[in-house]
Amino acid sequence: MNSSGTKFALGVYTSLFLVFLYAPMVVLGILSFQTGPEGGPQFPIIEWSTYWYQHLFGFTPPSRIAPLPINEALFRSLVLSVMTMIVSTVLGVSSAQAFRRKFRGSGVAFYLIVLGMMVPGVLVGLGMALVANVLGIDRHWWGTAFVLHVVYTYPFAFLVMLAILNRFDPSVEEAAWSLGVSPIRTFRKITFPLIFPGVLSAMLFAFTLSYDEFSRTLFASGRDLTLPLAIYGTFSVEVHPNVFAFGVLTTIFSFALLGVYAALMTLSIRRAKRIAIQEEA
């Protein structure tokens, strides 16, 4: 095959890849603009409308289709993700810092941490439910489920920080020590500002993984549902395009989150510059 033929084949391959990647999202997005309440989750579009978006926020006249029971679930999921993000990132940064030096049992500890993201979620969730039963602990999204979310997202934060610290030049820290700067202050003022972009990435990972975590939460969260569970619950009755409308909104929310991440990244770089100038004065 000549090189232009190769190029063409690779182009087709890439296009197909992109189609399979984004087609589901695009289809959902289109169907979310189906008319309601009689329009269903299938083509053709009877009439374009924003009915299901209004339905989502309760702006439509009452109909036989119940509103999505997501208000509280959304709140729970957001709180749970933020809690998970904070705890996992702190654990991830500090343990990755510890792994910079070899210590006795570091190999075993590494695999124990990483195990949290390897084991099947349903099994862990079920196991947690059984353990809670045996110990007589009530299952809650802020208790048993929270622990599982941390166990699951902590390895991701840990691996991100491990990669970041791997590329970090330790002689910068040694230079600070040799100038008389204590190790704690060196970590705060030299190491942390330099690894901060990595910390942001670890936070993003932990948040998004926790926010749409399903299988672990299923058995471990008890009575009160998180967002993914609540949405799944509506499927079991009948699927209406209001779920698609919600999907579009959460996708936009995720993009917004990425925007915040990018903004924080640039800010952290600017802030470092500004502090430097302030110290000057």
């Binding site: 070899k102 030049d169 002689s171 910068v172 040694e174 230079a175 600070a176 020590w177 040799s178 100038l179 008389g180 700067v181 204590s182 190790p183 202050r185 030299i190 500002p193 330099l194 470092a272 430097a276 100038i277 110290e279 000057e280």
Partner: protein, 369 residues
């Protein structure tokens, strides 16, 4: 007398059991410029890092101004280290890099600023004080690192191959600056390098290391003219080495039986007759004489019997330096250099028979390992 830095039987063994430094003994006077010189992996950087506190000391004692520092943290030691890659703080301006060591000491702002300004102007960094280090050249970054290390007024400045990342011209320039700075400030410098030209040019004394052991501690000239061990004889300068056995003494010199006859030199210690030794002759000590039977006895008499017949293989004059390649009877090749006045163009035709000779006091007899 209190030394600035003392090492007694200092040793370092890595966790996996490999010894990195073995029985290091050294006493450094205040204001001395010491170089650790050796091939890579000889333990010189490890020793420097033990002085800085970045590596633990496995055995022995280390003192700074008479105070034992084995268990003192790097931040509390009166040392400051300059790294080969400079290790500047990339998120701070040049001025803040330099001032950072003073900030943590809780020094008054005015005093801190005055000190920073003084060192910045000493090293010619005023113009770039507000820049970030990543935008600057290697030479500038090197100076920033020096300023940052010196402004905290350490008792000892430790330098880990600080010129290694610079190009040859810049290295020469900064080398001179460094020497001048050290003399002006009177601070003790300990400098690690694998380049002997740097060590010879800069230091008051050189510690030659090999495979974790100290081979010799001497001023540069003495290291050059009086190597103490076979390693130093091979590593420093260009020496010719003849193996043999001690035959006896003659007029204070030691006579050694070698395949080239009896050669004499000065022993670097007590040696029993029959001991296996090497005679080390610096290339500069060797005189080349046109070979004719008549003159040979006279030459031999003047140089204490230190004569060897040889052949010219090449003779070039480059500028004002004459280069000679000489073949010894055992096939070894020797390169010699001298000013063109000594060996003018055409002095030796190729394949000419010649006689090499040297004075006994310029050769050193060392134990062969």
């Amino acid at each position: 007398m209190i030394y600035d830095l003392e090492l007694y039987q200092v040793g370092k063994v890595y966790d996996n059991g490999t010894p990195a430094v073995i029985d290091f003994n050294l006493a450094v006077n205040k204001g001395e410029f010491i170089a650790f010189l050796g091939p890579s992996g000889c333990g010189k950087t490890t020793t420097l890092r033990m002085i800085a506190g970045f590596e633990s000391i496995s055995s022995g004692n280390m003192m700074i101004k008479g105070v034992r520092i084995n268990d003192i943290s790097p931040a509390q030691r009166p040392t400051s280290m300059i790294f080969q890659n400079y290790a500047l703080f990339p998120h701070m301006t040049v001025r803040n890099n330099v001032g950072y060591g003073l900030d943590v000491k809780g020094m008054a702002k005015a005093e801190r600023n005055a000190k920073v300004d003084r060192i910045l102007s000493t090293l010619g960094l005023d113009d770039i004080a507000e820049n970030k280090p990543d935008k600057l050249s290697g030479g500038q970054r090197q100076r920033i690192a020096l300023a940052r290390g010196l402004v905290v007024e350490p008792d000892i400045l430790l330098l880990d191959e600080p010129l290694g990342a610079l190009d040859a011209n810049l290295r020469k320039a900064i080398q001179n600056e460094l020497k001048l700075l050290q003399k002006t400030l009177g601070i003790t410098f300990v400098f690690v390098t694998h380049a002997q030209s740097e060590a010879l040019a800069l230091s008051d004394r050189i510690v030659v290391m090999n495979q974790g052991r100290v081979e010799q501690i001497s001023p540069p000239h003495q290291l050059y003219t009086r190597p103490n061990t076979p390693f130093v004889a091979q590593f420093i300068g260009r020496n010719t080495i003849f193996k043999g056995a001690v035959k006896g003494r003659n007029a204070g010199h030691t006579m050694v039986d070698t395949p080239f006859g009896t050669l004499t030199g000065d022993a670097n210690g007590a040696m029993a007759d029959g001991a296996n030794v090497s005679v080390v002759i610096p290339a500069e000590a060797i005189e080349v004489h046109a070979g004719n039977a008549g003159g040979r006895e006279e030459i031999s008499r003047l140089s204490g019997g230190n004569v060897i017949d040889a052949k010219i293989r090449r003779f070039d004059v480059v500028g004002h330096i004459s280069h000679l390649s000489v073949a010894l009877p055992d096939g070894r090749m020797l390169s010699l250099e001298a000013h063109v006045d000594k060996y003018p163009p055409g002095a030796f035709p190729v394949d000419a028979d010649i006689t090499l000779a040297w004075k006994p006091e310029r050769a050193t007899v060392i134990p062969a390992h």
